[in-house]
Each structure stands twice: as structure tokens, then as C-alpha cells.
């Protein structure tokens, strides 16, 4: 059955292939742990069912409002949901919800959140009518027009570094670009946010990783410091007075006009990162299965942010250095996130040592079957399960189901697939569609090895 589903769909339609409801993943008896399931998939072998991830990274997360809605849907205890990533307002998925959704991975995150507040001393916060938990040093004000402003390191005397307009559900970074004096531009100014991890940082990572490693779930470690030139991080929302090149457009232009400067930033950042990784690994060993390396986006909705030649000149050497260190010294797999149309970069990603690519934005002109055929034996596709710009937020449950089943058909064969949506589940997504997505994965699993 498992080898012929595609043919069946082509000749008989989806309904004929998946005729009866299948018991949800989490209710089916299995002797395979989530961690083994994930590892099997990462080794390009077929696991007992497709491993499923939401919440193990900042790019496979769920908006806090949807986490609350899912908890309601599954009848789980009510209460304020923790916002583990306050920039995109991603909500923590606790063990009870993880079990209800049948998820297989959890994440280890750095101590400091995007706006510089440590993930500690949680307090309640009224998020436009929804009670949530935020870090104690996450401090906001509301402007006269109703926008929410957030402050770096919770310092209300500093200029705000994030803004959530009325009508939005996410923060956007406020660019604080000092005037650029070309003569005085110093790469050190763009390195202020990078430095040796403190004992506090390391202690947090060690405790989180040990707990995650003992949980039985697959573990993704996000340690920070290895995202090279990610425009989501360039404005440095955690710094009180960022210096250097901090405007996103200016940074993009600098990739053409100030390459020597950027090389010097990346070189030093890479040195710092490798020293930090050595310390992290000495503490946590192989309690994580893969490492989130970088979220720099190289693709747009229809094209790319740069040529392959530019990628290879500017980014490739540093990715290769980080991934090589990881593969030489650990058992971790290397995870690369890049939105958009990135097929042109995939050979270079592989050559640079990436094992995993996410979010597999098929809607950006990439044919999933072609991706699987060309790269499926060399790259794990972590994502690509359903479109979050169109199908999931605006489609019918039937459309969600059909898209998910087709994607599972294409990507699951031979392993090398971790089901997740194409990026985070956004605010406003109907919870029924999220459940339809999960049901469809379960439905596929029910007949995959039947």
C-alpha cells in the first residue's frame, strides 16, 4: 500500500485512498519513542509514522492565541499560556497539549528572548483581551493610538525596539539606525550582541537540554549566535543603543557595497559562535538531536534575495565552518531555515553541511515532488506540510486535508520528512483547520504502513 498511494490518488481520488477515519496518533499504541521516530526520519529511513513538530523552534511555532484555542478545543486546563517568543508571540506547548496533538519534538531555547528579557520570572500580561504569561522583564507601554511598544531589556528609559500596531498580533522591530559615517564604520559595532555565553546562559541551556533529553521527545537546540545576517536580528531589538548597520534596507544594500565589512562581522561572529558551541556541547553532549543554525531568508515569494554566487561568497564559508564543527564534534544535525523560493540554493546548503531545511515554502514556486526527487535523499524536509498564507488560514477543512495528504504522499516516502506547516501557525487561523491538518497527518499515518 505504502508505495502506491500516489498512483491511487491519481487514478481514484483522495477519498478512495483514505476512506475511514483513523485513530489519532497519540491514541495508537506504539513502542517507538518520539525521539527514535524523529531520529529515524533524520537518518532518511521510514519511521513508524511521520514525526510531527510544532513548537520546537521559533519557525515551527504556534501563535499564543491559537495555542489557547487548541487547549480549549482539546478540553485541557485553562490558564494563561506562556509566550516563549514575544516577537512573534509564539505560545508554549505544554506536555498535555503536545500529547493531545501527537507531537514528537521539543525545543531548547536561549535564556534571553528577542527583546532581551530573560525567559524567567513569568508574569501575567493582558494581550488585547487574552491573558498570557510573559517574562518578568518584558515591559511595554501603549501609545496614544493604541500601538503596543516594547523596550529592550525591559528598560523603559530606552527607546522602544518593537511595536505592535492596532489590528496586528505580532511585534515588528523598530529600526534604530544611527547616522552612518563611512569612515568610522567599525565591524565591532555590528557584533555587540555576540559574545561569550555567560554562566547564567550556559546553566539555562544545560538545564533545558537535560530535561528535554530525558523527555523522550526529539530535541532541537537553538543556542543563538549562528544566524549570519538575519534581517530579523540585524536591528538588534535586545540592545538599548545599537550601533553599526541596523536598518534592514541598509543591510541589504551593504551585501553589495560593503562586503569586506560584512565578512569581518561574519568572521568574528563565527569565531565567537564556535567557542560557545564547544562550551555548550561540553555541558549537554548529545542530549539534543539537531541544532537550529540560522534563519536568514534567501528566498522571496517569487525569487531570491541574492544570487547563488553572492550566497557562496558571503555566507557559505561561515555556514560551512559552523556545520563542519558540529559534524566533527557532535551527533547533532544542522537545521537551516529560509523562507521563500530557495531551490536554487539547496545544492549549496547541502555542500555547506546542512542536513535539514525548513520551512519548505512550496507556495513560492517550488514543486514538492521535484524537491523530493532531487534533494530528498540528502536533505530532510522539516515543514512543507501545509500553506500558512492561504490554505490553512483561509481554506476549508477539506482543502486543508487534501493539501496535507498530498504533501505527506510526496515527502514521507523513504523518511527525511518531519511534518510541520510552512512556518508558524498564524493568529486568526481557524482552530478547526489546525485540527483538520493534524487529523489528515494521522489519517495518512493510518494507511502508510497498514
Amino acid at each position: 500500500m505504502e508505495r502506491h498511494l500516489g498512483c491511487l490518488i491519481a487514478t481514484r481520488g483522495i477519498e478512495a485512498c483514505y476512506e475511514s477515519p483513523v485513530e489519532p496518533n497519540h491514541l495508537r499504541q506504539t513502542s517507538v519513542s518520539s525521539r527514535d521516530r524523529l531520529r529515524t526520519a533524520l537518518e532518511h529511513r521510514e519511521p513508524d509514522r511521520i514525526p510531527l513538530d510544532f513548537g520546537s523552534t521559533n519557525v515551527t511555532g504556534i501563535h499564543v492565541s491559537r495555542v489557547a484555542a487548541l487547549r480549549d478545543y482539546y478540553g485541557l486546563p485553562k490558564g494563561p499560556v506562556k509566550v516563549y517568543e514575544p516577537f512573534q508571540m509564539l505560545g508554549s506547548i505544554d506536555d498535555d497539549l503536545r500529547a493531545a496533538m501527537g507531537l514528537d519534538a521539543i525545543g531548547v531555547f536561549p535564556l534571553k528572548t528577542k527583546f532581551g528579557a530573560p525567559a524567567a520570572d513569568w508574569k501575567e500580561w493582558d494581550f488585547r483581551g487574552l491573558q498570557v504569561l510573559v517574562p518578568g522583564d518584558f515591559r511595554t507601554t501603549t501609545s496614544a493610538n493604541g500601538d503596543i511598544l516594547v523596550y529592550p531589556q525591559g528598560d523603559l528609559t530606552a527607546a522602544p525596539s518593537g511595536r505592535m500596531p492596532v489590528g496586528s498580533a505580532f511585534f515588528d522591530i523598530i529600526v534604530r539606525q544611527p547616522e552612518i559615517d563611512e569612515e568610522k564604520l567599525d565591524p565591532a559595532d555590528n557584533l555587540e550582541e555576540f559574545g561569550p555565553l555567560s554562566d547564567e546562559d550556559l546553566d539555562h541551556i544545560e538545564r533545558s537540554a537535560r530535561a528535554a533529553g530525558a523527555s523522550g521527545y526529539g530535541v532541537v537546540g537553538s543556542f543563538g549566535g549562528t544566524s549570519f545576517g538575519d534581517v530579523g536580528l540585524i536591528p538588534a531589538a535586545a540592545l538599548k543603543s545599537p550601533k553599526g548597520i541596523r536598518d534592514v534596507a541598509e543591510w541589504y544594500m551593504s551585501t553589495r557595497t560593503r562586503r569586506r565589512y560584512i565578512h569581518r562581522v561574519f568572521e568574528r561572529q563565527c569565531e565567537i559562535a564556535l567557542a560557545n558551541l564547544a562550551r555548550v556541547h561540553s555541558l549537554i553532549g548529545d542530549s539534543v538531536d539537531c541544532m537550529y543554525v540560522c534563519g536568514t531568508d534567501f528566498g522571496t515569494q517569487t525569487s531570491a534575495f541574492c544570487s547563488v554566487a553572492t550566497f557562496r561568497e558571503l555566507w557559505f564559508p561561515y555556514y560551512q565552518r559552523v556545520n563542519s564543527w558540529v559534524h566533527t564534534n557532535t551527533d547533532w544535525k544542522c537545521f537551516k531555515h529560509s523562507c521563500g523560493s530557495v531551490e536554487r540554493f539547496l545544492e549549496s546548503f547541502i555542500e555547506a553541511g546542512f542536513d535539514i531545511v525548513n520551512p519548505v515554502q512550496c507556495s513560492a514556486g517550488m514543486d514538492p515532488a521535484e524537491l523530493k526527487r532531487k534533494y530528498g535523499s540528502r536533505l530532510v524536509f522539516w515543514g512543507g506540510g501545509v500553506d500558512t498564507q492561504k490554505t490553512l488560514p483561509f481554506g476549508s477543512q477539506r482543502e486543508v486535508r487534501e493539501e496535507v495528504l498530498r504533501r505527506c504522499e510526496i515527502f514521507a516516502s523513504g523518511g527525511g520528512f518531519v511534518f510541520s506547516a510552512i512556518h508558524n501557525l498564524q493568529a486568526g487561523t481557524p482552530v478547526e483547520n489546525i485540527v483538520a491538518m493534524l487529523d489528515a497527518v494521522n489519517e495518512f499515518n493510518g494507511v502508510w504502513h497498514a
Binding site: 500596531p165 489590528g167 534596507a249 544594500m253 553589495r256 525569487s303 541574492c306 500558512t388 492561504k390 498564524q426
Partner: protein, 211 residues
């Protein structure tokens, strides 16, 4: 003529300092501002758009050319206004309410200006009534709406509906674009046009204002 070729080249390679200098030099040689725009600036930005469409250029190169074009237009704009020269069209552009993303919108605005349009850029997080106010005050015949987020793209429909309610929908053409926006969505909300890139936005805008 040498200055004008230099201007064109400066725009294409994205050298704002040379673009400004060449513009000043051409004016000093007695070249009319409108001639500089239509004969040199517009063809240069068309070439930039062409290179973007065929992926010789990417976002960084587009940003550099847009900055060079702006440097030239900063000099030319007041002269064009005082000469009474008519633009190809007058467009009010902005990112819709609730959405503060503006890089894509800025690129489209620059390409439209380079394409001979007078551009009234309202910035980001723009409420429907502000679009209406700008169209009324400036006599614009085109509105360009941008959105990056699925949670904010609904404001495109709200804005179009607001033009309808204000009795101005027949007075303007409305085009939309942004990462989650599709032709299907544009059709569903009653927009007149959709563009998925800054380069093709100019061609669409020209088509809409001459329709």
C-alpha cells in the same frame, strides 16, 4: 549628453552620489527636467526592472537603484512641479492598517516614481480614511496597497470598501500586492490589479491609468 549617459549608468548600478552629480550637471547644461525624467531616468529604471525580472538583479540591487533614483528626483521634483509637467499618473501608496512592513512597498514606490508617476507615499500602518483623504486632497487616480501578513491583508478589503462607501471607488484604480496576496485574493476583494513584484507593478500601474 555625457552627463545623461552617466546618470543612466549611475541609476542602473545604484550609485546615488553619481546620480545626483549627473543630474546637477545635466541641469547646468540646460537639459529640461522633464527630458531628464522621461528620456533617461525612466528608461534606466525600466532597465533595472528588467534585470530584476530576469534575476540579474535582486533586492539589494533594486534598493541601491531606488536610492540613486531618489537622489536624482530630490533635485528634479521641485523643478518639475514649478514647470507644470504632468506625471504619467498620480498614485497614493501605503502599507495597510496594522502592518508596519515597508521594504516591498518602498521598492514599488521607487519604481513607480522612476516610471514617471507622482508618488504620494503614506508609509506603513495606514488607516483607510488616510488613503481616502490623500486621494481627495492630491487628486490621485491610482491607489497601491501593500500587506505582508495574513492577519493584516483583510485591511485591503476594508480600504477598498471604504472607497466604495465614500463614493470614490469609480474615481480611482486600486492595485494590491505583498507576500500573502494573490491574483485570486485581489479579484475576491474587488481590486483592479495585482502585482507580485516591484518591476511588474510599474507595467500594471501604467495599464490601469490608461484603461
Amino acid at each position: 549628453m555625457h552627463d545623461l549617459e552617466q546618470l543612466k549608468e549611475a541609476l542602473i548600478v545604484g550609485d546615488w552620489k553619481n546620480a545626483a552629480a549627473a543630474t546637477q550637471a545635466a541641469l547646468a547644461d540646460g537639459v529640461a527636467p522633464l527630458t531628464i525624467v522621461t528620456g533617461h531616468l525612466m528608461p534606466a529604471m525600466d532597465e533595472v526592472g528588467r534585470r530584476f525580472e530576469c534575476e540579474e538583479y535582486f533586492v539589494p540591487e533594486m534598493l541601491l537603484s531606488a536610492r540613486a533614483m531618489k537622489a536624482s528626483m530630490e533635485i528634479l521634483r521641485p523643478l518639475l512641479a514649478s514647470s507644470g509637467a504632468q506625471p504619467v499618473g498620480r498614485v497614493v501608496i501605503g502599507t495597510v492598517k496594522g502592518d508596519v512592513h515597508d521594504i516591498g512597498k518602498n521598492l514599488v514606490a521607487a519604481m513607480l516614481e522612476g516610471g514617471g508617476f507622482e508618488v504620494i507615499d503614506l508609509g506603513a500602518d495606514v488607516a483607510p480614511e488616510l488613503f481616502i483623504e490623500a486621494v481627495t486632497e492630491r487628486g490621485a487616480n491610482l491607489v497601491a496597497l501593500s500587506a505582508l501578513l495574513t492577519v493584516t491583508m483583510g485591511w485591503m478589503k476594508t480600504t477598498i470598501d471604504a472607497f466604495q462607501t465614500a463614493g470614490l471607488r469609480q474615481e480611482v484604480k486600486i492595485m494590491v500586492g505583498g507576500a500573502p496576496v494573490t491574483q485570486q485574493y485581489a479579484d475576491a476583494i474587488g481590486a483592479d490589479g495585482f502585482s507580485d513584484s516591484a518591476g511588474s507593478a510599474v507595467a500594471l500601474a501604467r495599464k490601469l491609468v490608461t484603461a
